[in-house]
């Protein structure tokens, strides 16, 4: 039975890799197949309809609310010009030193990455940041990679991600926060190293390009002036509250939304702007919401008693327990989280994490370490992830070029995270 479940999972991965099915649909079908193969009844306790579909779909509800609030704040940062002002100031201060500008954009991307993820995060920092870096001589691949590496620096402090791992792995938020704080230095060092090394290696580039110049009127968003300096602190507000004062995630994000609003908006316009950006936030959040519904369903399926019983002996046989072996094996397996591979934590990887915990092979906190380490790779180097595709296309290069350039750095981050996991939790 366990082998059949693994074959079903392999078929699901193949469907995702070949893009026959969108990830969210593939995960739901996978969950249904696993539940049926495990012998789950159609209704009642531990059943296909009541447990897998009904309970699973809403299992990550807290994460979904956090995603919506993060997207709402992201929309506000965009609409009020906070993100644009941050990048403009960086270019004005450091524009004749491309490495300084790139480090500044990296910092802005990291801030944005703490608020929201995926393509919207890349767009917030990259719409002005990427062409601004290119304009001061940063090569295009380096510029696209800088935004992605920056977002990855923020990911350990992205509150919706804390909520996701807390709910999905059934761990207290404090435990997730504790590990993320340990993972952050690896992400930061790798990102700074990327900017400094790649700018030194590749130098600067200036092109006489055929990009036409126009007399078109600027859009409303483009006409936005600089926001006041205190409004620029908006992305930090949720972080200070959640990390520094240990306030719960949803109130922290709401505080960020309110701060961004009151520091940039006249009282008479607040209602309209709040509603407009909230609805815009839902639009941005739609793809991850669909994915989190599917992941919740998959997690419910792999936790069914029949599935756990079938998978336990197989997983135990192949899972390394010696700390050195653990680090070596899972570091070598890093590429399996690329191209929607089986270790992608926002895909089948979430199911595998669920199996590892449900079967008791590793403590939940060790699985957290593994999953978050892989998340650092997926978020930057996966040529199928939306932020990578968007950043590369916007810079005018291929996602694969960005993957090749950034992979060594994020692989090292994953290795660092796995070392911490093995040292502390195995």
């Amino acid at each position: 039975m366990g082998v059949v479940i693994l074959l079903v999972m392999a078929a699901g991965v193949a469907a995702m890799l070949t893009r026959k099915l969108p990830t969210a649909f593939a995960l739901v079908l996978l969950a249904l197949a696993i539940a049926l193969v495990s012998g789950a009844p159609l209704t009642g306790e531990n059943s296909v309809l009541d447990t897998v579909l009904q309970e699973g779909a809403g299992a990550l509800a807290a994460t979904m609310v956090a995603i919506v609030l993060g997207s709402w704040l992201g929309r506000l940062l965009d609409e009020t010009g906070i993100a644009g002002t941050l990048v403009r100031k960086i270019v004005e201060f450091g524009g004749d030193r491309p490495t300084v500008v790139a480090l500044g954009v990296l910092a802005v991307s990291a801030l944005v990455g703490t608020v929201t993820g995926s393509a919207p995060a890349a767009m917030l920092a990259g719409i002005i940041g990427i062409p601004a870096m290119v304009a001061v001589g940063v090569p295009k691949v380096t510029a696209a990679g800088t935004v992605l590496m920056g977002i990855a620096v923020g990911v350990p402090f992205e509150l919706p991600v804390w909520q996701f791992f807390s709910t999905a792995l059934d761990l207290p938020v404090g435990t997730v926060r504790g590990f993320m704080v340990k993972l952050f230095p690896f992400a930061l060092v790798a990102a700074v190293a990327y900017v400094v090394i790649e700018n030194r290696r590749r130098g600067t580039e200036h092109a006489w390009s055929l990009k036409p110049v126009t007399a078109r009127p600027a859009s409303r968003r483009e006409r936005l002036g600089d926001t006041p300096w205190y409004a620029l602190l908006a992305p930090v507000v949720p972080l200070v509250l959640a990390l520094g004062l240990e306030v719960a995630i949803i109130p922290s994000l709401l505080a960020g939304v309110l701060y961004a609003l009151v520091t940039t908006t006249r009282p008479g316009e607040m209602n309209k702007r709040l509603l407009r950006t909230l609805y815009g936030g839902f639009e941005v959040a739609a793809p991850p919401l669909a994915l989190f519904i599917a992941i919740g369903i998959l997690l419910a399926a792999v936790k069914l008693p029949g599935a756990v019983e079938a998978l336990e002996p197989l997983m135990k046989a192949v899972s390394p327990h010696h700390p050195v072996l653990f680090v070596a094996v899972f570091t070598l397996l890093v590429p399996l989280c690329l191209y929607r591979g089986p270790l992608n934590v926002f895909g089948l990887g979430a199911g595998i994490a669920g199996v590892l915990i449900a079967t008791g092979i590793y403590p939940a906190v060790a699985v957290l370490g593994m999953a978050t380490s892989y998340n650092q790779v997926f978020g930057v180097a996966d040529p199928t992830s939306t932020q990578t595709v968007w950043s590369a296309q916007y810079a005018g290069v291929g996602p694969q070029q960005v993957m090749v350039r950034t992979l060594p750095y994020v692989w090292a981050v994953a290795c660092g995270g796995l070392c911490v996991t093995a040292a502390l939790y195995l």
Binding site: A24, F93, A207, S209, V213, Q393
Partner: protein, 207 residues
């Protein structure tokens, strides 16, 4: 964005060189909200700075290759190793455009290649030399003022305007290469007929 989406005038020569420089600055990220008069002042200052630069020798390795039209480039300078890439297909098309538009008096035969080399030589000069600080000084933009303390601000795109002005001066061109760039972009776009990929097209796929 491609030329097909622009409001390029029917006769680009009707737009003066400083206005082309203003448009270049306005299209450069970080200037979206700037007052057009401020951009005009910066365009004039950068143009004057480039035109007044003493002759700069191009010490970088020069490589000629094709593929410029596909990449939307006429020339490119890279600092490691110092190299100027000249895209022969784009240069050839530029010469055709000059003939077709009747601009030969402004851009003599072979002047496009010479202008490209001069343009990239200035980038190399500004990259390695102190001229970069001088350009910043000439523009007079402040990133921060605290009482008597003033931090000069970088103006993105000004270096490009200066490089074009330098190329115009040392190559004895009748008009700025920015004019030629505008006409060339329109011609290249008309020949390719390729819609520009929307960078945001994939932004809403799954996570």
């Amino acid at each position: 964005m491609t030329a097909a989406h622009t409001n390029a005038p029917a006769d680009p020569a009707a737009v003066d060189d400083i206005e082309w420089a203003v448009r270049l600055l306005a299209a450069t990220p970080t200037h979206e909200h700037r007052d057009p008069e401020l951009l005009r002042r910066w365009a004039r200052a950068a143009d004057a700075f480039g035109a007044a630069l003493p002759p700069v020798e191009c010490t970088a390795r020069i490589v000629e290759r094709d593929g410029g039209l596909e990449r939307g480039l006429l020339a490119r300078y890279t600092s490691r190793p110092p190299t100027v890439e000249l895209y022969a297909d784009t240069v050839a098309l530029a010469e055709e455009v000059v003939d077709a538009r009747g601009w030969r008096a402004w851009f003599p035969p072979g002047s496009v290649r010479a202008a490209a080399l001069a343009h990239e030589a200035v980038h190399a000069h500004l990259h390695h030399g102190r001229a970069r600080a001088a350009l910043k000084h000439a523009l007079g933009h402040s990133a921060l003022r605290l009482g008597r303390l003033r931090v000069p601000g970088h103006v993105a795109g000004a270096e490009e305007v200066a490089a074009h002005a330098y190329a115009r001066t040392v190559c004895g061109l009748g008009r700025s290469p920015l004019l030629l760039t505008a006409a060339l972009a329109a011609e290249a776009d008309a020949r390719s007929h390729r819609p520009a990929p929307s960078p945001a097209r994939d932004a809403r796929r799954e996570n």
